[in-house]
Symmetry: C2
Subunit: 152 residues, 2 copies
């Protein structure tokens, strides 16, 4: 299972430019595999610190994404940045805050990041962040390469 955060600061969120394969040089949310004997929340905080040296306060689970073609489940939590004292961890080339208009949509690393951010900014406009769940399936026949199904 993969856990991570959507780190928030005012109207911006923090993204990390990947220093490692796959997708070196593309932007992603801080997230990674859970380790033994930690909780999902602890894993999300650890990954956020490892990748961005950022400290957040979690404010709730935001999304459950299934990636069945690689047998992965992603749990992403919203998190309020406690300060602006962040910097690239070993797995990041760069860490920065982006408002919706500034998101580098064509340079995001993974479909799950694109889909999560779309839902996130829609919810932000509504002022209502209810948990969302979706399944991303690889689809080699389509132009975008994947298909997203939203769940209740």
């Amino acid at each position: 299972m993969v856990v991570g955060t959507i780190p928030e600061w005012e109207d911006k969120i923090l993204l990390c430019k990947r220093a490692i394969e796959p997708r070196v040089g593309l932007w992603t949310l801080p997230a990674g595999f859970m380790e033994n004997r930690e909780t999902a929340q602890e894993g999300a905080l650890r990954e956020t610190f490892e990748e961005a040296n950022a400290r957040v306060e979690l404010t709730g689970l935001y999304s459950l994404f299934n990636l069945p073609h690689i047998s992965q489940v992603y749990l992403l939590f919203r998190g309020r940045l406690l300060d602006l004292d962040f910097s690239p961890g070993e797995e990041s080339l760069e860490v920065a805050l982006f408002s919706e208009d500034e998101i580098p949509w064509d340079q995001l690393a993974f479909p799950i990041v694109i889909e999560t951010l779309k839902l996130y900014f829609e919810d932000r406009k509504k002022g209502d962040f209810t948990l969302c769940s979706a399944t991303i399936k690889r689809d080699h026949d389509s132009f975008v390469g994947y298909e997203t199904t939203q769940h209740e």
Copy 2:
């Protein structure tokens, strides 16, 4: 990761009496380990069918429980039973519906089942089932044997 359901029928929920170790003869919610290449939702439906021959329609994720001492995360979904045509699967001795008053509180198999059902019936009284998250830690010094911390 373990996935399962809280199968609902009017004011009752469905429990399974375990036919397998551990905790043979005690009651539990239908749940089990996710399999490769399935989604969390598919796994929850599969386990509900395998353990109780019950068909449910999922209505949303209800709880995220951490059990760090055994490196497990539980995701339980609420599910509306589609009919009353359920029966014990191979891993169950008996399957039955219980209202809150009828729950065999002293014969529940696992702390996670006890804690989930407590939260569930509290939320039912409030008429508001928001996602809940908690960590259950083993505590050999206490009488009940575990400690529960609720998260945002």
